[in-house]
């Protein structure tokens, strides 16, 4: 019995769920069965992931059934993948619990669920792939399945557009990944990942760097590294809530998995600069991601940008780990790898949670526009509580899990001085500073992202009419529990991850990381230390004790309570609340250079010389810099190229025969050479 057996079970269950969904169509029990299977598989995957986290790799190359490529289906269970597998499992369970209340049973639902489970299976295969062919095939399968997921409601042009962005960028990324794999496998004459890893040193430095950069770019498309991120804000809003949750919670993470795979297993970089590049890319993505998130009023676009920020943080951690590795600071390197993986787990949990809650909000009010929501705390109390947990987590506020991982990452980066090289130290500190800015803005952004929709007064009748009964709760709640567990159980998690780090980097810092049972030390003593568990206990007590004292002692003096002083107005109106865009106006002014906002004040009666006899309409639009200055030109070039080579498509059979002949001739000549 080893994790792989469990994974076989999980994979099989997902396959079965996919088939069930396909057959079930709009038959409710069938769909429920499908979800049940999916949840079962998720649980199993979680178990397997946890197992391989605790007991390290299981390096059995399982000769599986033949694949389309003819090669054997090579599977294995590494503990680097373990954390991803566990995350995949939890997300799968949460989504499975969420779906039945979110999707009304219909023919489309069945197909959609089939696609979902196929995607889950493909993700599992990617993580468990022992061979390059297996990896690539399942990677592509995953992309296509996700494409189907995004196309759940293909009616609107928005959907098609978002799905197309996703597919296009995925395919470009895929090609680069293929190139990277081809290089390493050609240089190591192997296709099994283990073998490649073992012979990694055979790859000459130049090729190694090339392979790594190709992989970084290729996986960067999936991970949403700026400027390769444009598909996230396009695809996430149009996908159904659980679909976007899956995209952000798992698929994006697989991008970071790919980067880690190349960076730490296959071709550990020789010099420090690949690491610095990675770190820089991550830091920039983090800052730009959160800055754009602040300009979004669509909850899901907002969350998508925040995903960009978080993958940025993860990649920064990985990059720093590479740098330290290059400087032979194996302890710090392992430490940052651990921190990064921890953040993967955390972000996977709370971002999935938040996307599912965004779905609940859209379900209940019919809109995702923050400026049309408000006051949901009164209408959706349970969802509000759950969303609040997720918000605390993603804003990296103690005692939730986000704080733990970000604290670890900062502690790692602050020790950049240990590299000895001034330039490197400065760059690392710069990255740390960028992450600091990002962290601050993230709190700002999520005060907004939680406060505007959930607190205050409803801004529209629809928001006022939101109803909680019938809304999914179990799935998000599970994730909220997971977030809390990841915070309180940090020592356990870190223990497991340190074993992962040991198996990946070969350095074990178990005692160095956890001297006591519950205290964490960032790789080097005499730097800093803290205990997430104690912190949680303390914070809870700090809130609870005064509350108890207050409850115990009744207020003595007679007190009158009067409404808040409002200057004697007749009544507050929803229009008098901070709106999402006004709340973030200061950043718009501060980061003018980045946003290039175009402000327009319209009055219904601007043509009317009497003026001011109409509603004021104020808009400040942000220039989509990357879309306009990076992708538009490329797209134009491609279109131009297409026009240029159209003449080849004459439709004349003879001409086509000529093409065929020429190609064969070329191949022959090449073979002869």
């Amino acid at each position: 019995m080893n994790p792989l057996d469990i994974l076989y079970g999980a994979g099989g269950a997902w396959l079965a769920a996919a088939v069930t969904g396909l057959l079930a169509g709009s038959w409710r029990p069938g769909l429920r069965a499908c979800c049940g299977l999916s949840a079962l598989a998720g649980a199993a995957a979680t178990g397997a992931g946890g197992w391989s986290l605790v007991y390290g790799d299981t390096r059995v190359v399982a000769p599986g059934p033949a694949t389309i490529t003819g090669g054997p289906l090579q599977l294995q269970m590494t503990s680097l993948a373990g954390v991803f597998v566990a995350l995949l499992g939890i997300v799968a369970v949460a989504i499975a619990l969420y779906v039945p209340r979110y999707h009304e049973p219909s023919r489309g639902t069945g197909v959609y669920l089939a696609a979902c489970n196929l995607a889950l299976l493909a993700c599992l295969a990617v993580l468990a792939a022992g061979g390059m062919v297996t990896f690539l095939v399942s990677w592509e399968t995953m992309s296509l399945a996700c494409y189907l997921i995004i196309l759940r409601h293909p009616r609107s042009g928005e959907t098609a557009r978002g799905a197309f962005w996703f597919l296009a960028l995925s395919e470009i990324g895929f090609l680069l990944v293929v190139a990277a794999f081809v290089i390493v496998s050609a240089k190591t004459h192997a296709t099994e990942l283990d073998v490649i890893a073992a012979r990694g040193h055979l790859v000459p430095g130049g090729w190694r760097a090339a392979a790594y950069l190709l992989a970084l770019t290729g996986f960067g498309f999936k991970a949403g590294l700026v400027p390769l991120h444009v598909w996230l804000p396009e695809a996430h809003p149009v996908a159904p809530a659980d679909g976007s949750a899956f995209l952000s919670g798992v698929v994006v993470k697989l991008g970071t998995y790919g980067i880690a795979l190349f960076a730490f297993r296959l071709v550990p970089a020789a010099g420090s600069w690949p690491g610095l590049v990675t770190m820089g890319a991550g830091a920039v993505s983090a800052a730009i991601g959160i800055l754009y998130a602040l300009r979004e009023r669509d909850i899901k676009r907002f969350l998508a940008y925040s995903t960009i920020e978080n993958t940025g943080i993860i990649v920064t951690a990985f990059g720093a780990a590479m740098v330290f590795h290059a400087y032979r600071l194996s302890a710090l390197s392992a430490f940052l790898l651990i921190a990064g993986l921890y953040h993967v787990a955390n972000h996977g949990c709370y971002k999935t949670l938040l996307f599912l809650e965004a779905g609940v909000v859209e379900h209940a009010t019919g809109t995702r526009d923050m400026d049309r929501l408000g006051g949901l705390v009164h209408r959706l109390p349970r969802s509000t509580v759950i969303a609040f947990v997720g918000t605390l987590g993603i804003a990296a506020l103690p005692p939730l899990n986000g704080f733990v991982s970000e604290w670890l990452i900062f502690q790692g980066l602050f020790q950049g001085f240990r590299t000895g090289s001034h330039l490197t130290a400065i760059l690392i500190v710069l990255a740390a500073a960028t992450l600091g800015l990002t962290g601050g803005l993230a709190i700002y952004a999520f005060v907004r992202g939680f406060g505007i929709p959930y607190l205050g007064m409803p801004r529209t009748p629809k928001a006022a009419a939101a109803r909680e009964p019938g809304q999914p709760v179990a799935g998000p709640a599970l994730l909220a529990v997971a977030c809390a567990a990841l915070a309180v159980g940090a020592p356990v998690m870190l223990g497991a991850l340190s074993r992962t780090a040991h198996t990946v980097t070969g350095t074990s810092l178990g005692p160095l990381l956890l001297p006591g049972k519950l205290t964490v030390i960032p790789a080097h003593t005499n730097f800093s230390a803290f205990s997430p568990t104690y912190l949680t206990v303390f914070l809870v007590a700090a809130c609870a004790v005064p509350a108890l004292i207050y409850l115990a002692g009744r207020p003595r003096a007679a007190s009158v309570s009067v409404p808040v002083w409002d200057g004697g107005m007749v009544s507050f109106r929803p229009r008098m609340q901070y709106s999402a865009m006004t709340f973030s106006a200061p950043t718009r002014v501060t980061f003018d250079a980045l946003y290039r906002p175009s402000v327009s004040v319209r009055r219904a009666s601007d043509d009317d010389p009497a003026g001011r006899s109409g509603p004021v309409h104020y808009e400040a639009q942000v220039t989509p810099v990357f879309d306009r200055y990076l992708y538009r030109p490329v797209i134009r070039a491609v279109e131009w190229l297409a026009d240029a080579i159209r003449p080849m498509q004459s439709g004349d059979v003879n001409l086509y025969l000529l093409y065929v002949f020429l190609v064969i001739l070329l191949a022959y000549l090449l073979g002869a050479v």
């Binding site: 200057g567 004697g568 008098m576 006004t582 106006a585 200061p586 319209r602 009497a610 001011r612 006899s613």
Partner: protein, 530 residues
């Protein structure tokens, strides 16, 4: 169609051109002393408005309705170069041509006329709540019959779209300021728009004036805007005098002028103090308030009332100034003001806050019919004191400002600093004028209003005006045959200038500029709401 009275300058040609439109009847300038009244048909009203608005140096000073006859009469008061032109038109039905599209200044009045008389411009344009509180029911007292359908509660000004929100402020605001509600529409940083509500202060003064004699009415007229009691009182009294065809004795007229200039002085001092308070310059505020208090004491010593209530009465003045006191104390008090002003002008932290703050262009000022220092700070030489200077038919004298011509202080820039400079210049001018008036001789006394045998006054209607520290004040009074007021229209300068306030606030300003702008306008909610 009677013959057009010989009038100097533009008004003559203007009336000729109006006459060409047909249906024009000139009621002559005689009984309305200095203002020509013409009656025109509703169908020619729109065209006529075009003609007048198009011609140079005309400004729509006021517009109001009167429910005297069987149908409401719409009156437009145009300020011409050298006097006023009143056009009156009987409105059949409940709609009239959309005049505010031609003369934007009319918008506020269109709203007010709709509230009070239920007739509205023939556009579907949303009108705003001005005077009537939201709770005003159909039985709420109005000047005319109430609107056909109730006013739109959530009226146009009340909606905020896009990425802005309304920052509510008031009606109960800082200490010692009037009740007033601002809705500051903001994008979080800059002020996008300002909504202003003053219905908290609507006391129905015009409604109260109905049925009173001019002698009784002056009491309420003064309290319509207490800080320009003299100006409003003078305008009201002058309107009554015009209606009855009498003029105050020259000495009394000069007394009025002295009181008016004293009022201007203390108001400008108060505005200066408010500017210092708004800019957080407490020392300057104290200095200005010392000057203000001394000026008020001069008022009390000279006229027996710190705010000069009860000085004006129809036909003349009730009190004579204590000339000795004025000659002795006024220069000292003004010196106080002058020194404070010089010190302020030498304080950069103060001047910097004023410059380029709350700017208005001359074009905006003309478009919105702004008056007083606000308009003069944009370079427009708008001053009602000039209008009296032209020798008028019906009265031999041209009023005190004809004998003692004033130089109109203007500035360009149109920002708060320009207004401040205008106020300082006017203060100096006021002191000079007061000296001249005193030399020419002042005193109490009144021309008895012509009475019929039974102690009742005659009938008639007339227009009166005065230049308060806030700008031109207009009053229009109609008396029935028993000499009681059937319709009194009071239009303090505040009514006009609040209209420009939100434009000034919107021009590239942030929250903290708004108190400064408000202080530089130095308007009253009481005057707007009446």
């Amino acid at each position: 169609m009677t013959t057009v009275e010989p009038q100097a300058g533009t008004s003559e040609q203007l009336i000729r051109r109006l006459a060409d439109l047909g249906g024009l009847e000139v009621l002559g300038g005689a009984e309305t002393r200095g203002a020509i009244t013409v009656r025109m048909l509703p169908e020619t009203l729109e065209e006529a408005t075009h003609v007048i608005a198009a011609s140079a140096d005309t400004r729509l000073a006021d517009m109001f309705a009167d429910d005297g006859g069987d149908a409401p009469t719409l009156r437009l008061i145009w300020a011409l170069e050298e006097g006023y032109l009143v056009t009156e038109t009987e409105i059949q039905g409940d709609q009239y041509p959309p005049l505010s599209d031609i003369a934007p200044a009319a918008f506020v009045e269109e709203c007010e006329i709709y509230e009070q008389f239920g007739i509205r411009p023939a556009t579907g344009k949303p009108l705003n709540r001005l005077m009537l509180p939201p709770h005003a029911g159909p039985d709420f007292p109005r000047l005319g019959h109430r609107p056909a359908e109730p006013l739109d509660e959530a009226h146009a000004l009340h909606t905020v779209g896009g990425q802005a929100f309304e920052f509510p402020f008031g009606p109960v605001r800082q200490v010692g300021v009037e009740s007033l509600y601002y809705g500051l529409v903001t994008s979080g940083e800059e002020v996008v728009d300002v909504y202003l509500f003053t219905w908290h202060k609507h006391r129905g003064v015009e409604w109260r004036l109905r049925g009173t004699t001019p002698g009784e009415g002056i009491f309420f007229a003064e309290r319509a805007e207490g800080l320009s009691a003299v100006a409003v009182g003078w305008a009201f009294a002058a309107a009554a005098e015009a209606a009855l065809g009498v003029a105050p004795p020259p000495a009394a007229a000069r007394t009025r002028a002295v009181a008016l200039e004293l009022e201007r002085l203390y108001n400008h001092a108060a505005a200066m103090a408010a500017l210092c308070q708004a800019t957080g310059l407490t020392v300057g505020q104290s200095a200005a308030e010392i000057a203000l208090e001394r000026l008020l004491r001069v008022n009390a010593a000279a006229f027996g009332h710190r705010y000069l209530f009860g000085v004006i009465e129809p036909g003349g003045t009730a009190r004579a100034p204590d000339i000795a006191v004025l000659r002795r104390d006024l220069p000292a008090a003004y010196g106080e003001l002058r020194r404070a002003a010089n010190a302020l002008l030498a304080t950069n932290s103060f001047v910097d806050r004023l410059e380029a703050c709350g700017s208005l262009t001359a074009e905006e000022a003309r478009r919105l019919g702004l008056v007083g220092p606000v308009a003069r700070a944009t370079g427009l030489a708008v001053d009602a004191r000039l209008n009296g200077r032209r020798p008028r038919s019906g009265s031999a004298d041209g009023g005190p400002y004809a004998e003692h011509p004033l130089t109109v202080v203007t500035a360009d820039g149109g920002d708060v600093f320009a207004r401040f400079q205008v106020m300082l210049g006017e203060a100096a001018e006021s002191v000079r004028l007061i000296g001249e008036f005193l030399d020419a001789g002042t005193g109490a006394g009144r021309t008895p209003l012509p009475e019929k045998g039974n102690g009742e006054l005659g009938s008639g209607h007339g227009l009166g005006w005065a230049e308060s520290s806030r700008g031109e004040v207009l009053a229009w009074v109609a008396l029935d045959e028993t000499g009681r007021i059937t319709r009194a229209r009071l239009r303090p300068g505040s009514v006009r200038n609040w209209r420009g306030f939100d434009d000034a606030c919107r021009s590239q300003n942030v929250f903290t500029d708004i108190p400064i702008i408000e202080a530089s306008f130095w308007l009253t909610a009481a005057g707007l709401a009446r």
